[in-house]
């Protein structure tokens, strides 16, 4: 996909994620919206995957450690054909294959069960170690939340991944500056998170997480650096491009009504039209 197509895909992922949350009427809107461009870049262009064969041995893996943002991942998976888009309407309803938090036992295309914050760091490390040991030609992609990076396990993993020289581990922090109870700077500030990972021995860079070209270039550059795991800090906006969420302080988990939903979808459709017209 080119940049235009990726931006359209990102808007479609936001649409699909909102549809997924809509049936229950409440969910993790903020963090699902802030990682939409990354999902578009990974599923639209970067990752070696086969929706018809989700367990393909040499596939690239995606571990979304901020597992509560399942709806954004499900949106991308549905649009890629892992399952029907209609199935998004079952999210968080009894018996669904699409629970709020990512579950590898239930959902085609989900590579790891996550939800208890910090744990995806270690499981991604294990997947990268195991892939290298078995000489697989693949990359392990990992998405961490910024609030999640307050967890000690993230830093255990940061030390260990550098020690093990896991250069096929490419991690992202969705640095949207907010956690459930407000701004990180008011609760548990991460400081210079890029520098911290660099000090832990990682190849670390910082990009605009809503710029699909910048994301692609950061991933390409990461693949050129050998012997170190990679951290791409994505500066993002929590609730990005969702009319009822973006300007709201507490937008981690939100409930919304039909009117809110329709307005958000209309705005996303309008954005898609503008992208198509070359205005964005």
């Amino acid at each position: 996909m080119n940049a235009k197509e990726l931006n359209i895909f990102a808007a479609q992922i936001r649409r699909a994620a909102l549809r997924a949350i809509k049936k229950v009427g409440a969910g993790h809107v903020g963090g699902s919206m802030s990682m939409a461009e990354l999902m578009a870049v990974l599923y639209g262009d970067v990752m070696k995957i086969d929706p018809a064969n989700p367990k393909m041995e040499d596939r690239d893996w995606l571990i979304v450690s901020k597992g509560h943002c399942g709806p954004a991942v499900y949106g991308a998976l549905a649009l890629k054909g892992y399952f029907d888009v209609e199935e998004l309407d079952t999210v968080n309803r009894g018996g669904t294959r699409l629970p709020s938090h990512c579950d590898m036992k239930r959902t085609p295309g989900i590579d790891m069960s996550t939800g208890s914050l910090g744990q995806g760091m270690s499981t991604a490390i294990g997947a990268a170690w195991g892939s290298r040991y078995q000489k697989r030609d693949n990359y392990i992609y990992l998405v961490l939340g910024d609030g999640e990076s307050e967890e000690g396990q993230v830093w255990e993993g940061a030390l260990f991944a550098a020690q093990q020289k896991l250069d096929h581990l490419i991690a992202f922090i969705d640095f949207n500056k907010k956690q459930l109870d407000g701004f990180l700077t008011d609760i548990c500030d991460l400081g210079d998170i890029r520098k911290k990972f660099e000090d832990f021995g990682w190849d670390a860079k910082e990009v605009d997480g809503h710029d699909v070209e910048a994301l692609e270039k950061a991933i390409e550059d990461a693949k050129k650096v050998q012997g170190r795991p990679h951290m791409i800090v994505m500066n993002t906006i929590k609730g990005k491009d969702c009319t009822f969420a973006e300007d709201v302080l507490y937008n981690h988990h939100m409930s919304f009504n039909q009117e809110d939903y329709e307005a958000a979808i209309a705005a996303l459709d309008e954005k898609i039209d503008r992208i198509k017209a070359g205005e964005v």
Partner: protein, 322 residues
Amino acid sequence: MYQVEEKISAEKQEMRAVFAKVIDEMAKEDDRVIYMDCDLMNSIGMAKYWKEHPDKAVNCGIQEANMIGAAAGMSATGLIPFTHTFGTFATRRVMDQVYVSAAYAGLNVKIIGSDPGITATLNGGTHMPLEDIGMMRCIPEVTIVEPTDCTMLADILRKAKDTYGVFYIRLSRKKADKIYKDGSEFEIGKAAKIREGKDVTIFATGICVSEALKAAELLEKEGIQAAVSNMFTIKPIDKETVIQAAKETGAIVTAENHNIINGLGSAVAEVLAENVCCPMERIGAKDRFGEVGDMEYLKKAMGMTAEDIASAVKRTIARKEG
């Protein structure tokens, strides 16, 4: 099939020596076997293996949570990781990682917790896992085993490797009493009956197995015939054998190197309460913390000696109806 030694005697080698040997053998036979440790390679006798096989042995440093998560991730790629640290850190320190990353995710991780209960001796209360079985019992789909001697350890390690799922293997590093003849084989989930008797059944695990056999000898002198069954699999518990023992002997005593809450005693009591009316008593730590001391001191302090088991048997038999 297993065969029981005629006479109890101390093993010639430590459990950790057999552990190291079997891990080495399994890794040679099966490339999927990976050994992981948190800075206790020397303590468990794996330092030599680590130096010789740096590609298959991972020293994670002192970070148990990351080790369990990384093991889960490795197993998701098809490997079979065996992780080791002391039992306290292998369970209560990483409860959530075992729960979510390994068990909930349906992965294939073999967790070794060493120095069970009072075998931690001089490391004392902080290092004395008397709750590890209880914590692991609460996690669905986890198999919990406590090998009794070197022969059983070698067999159980191989069976754990070949059985998909999360295992918690409670392992003493030290010399055990030799209960089983060389070459014995065991069935996970099936108790090993090691002494016949008609008046009571003692279900025992770990270091309490030889104490139970000694108790049976003491009781024999008083005309009480005690059966002894080695319930080395605590989960899934062997319901059938418990029910049968209750029906045949009419009295049950459990003996474990663990808190009497949520260990072997609780597992057996749950089976009895739901299936058959039978008096029982539990030998083990009476809901208390550990402390420093040598094995003899600690067995007495915790009430885990052969004499303690024999007394419990007599109290339980006295409660038989009719």
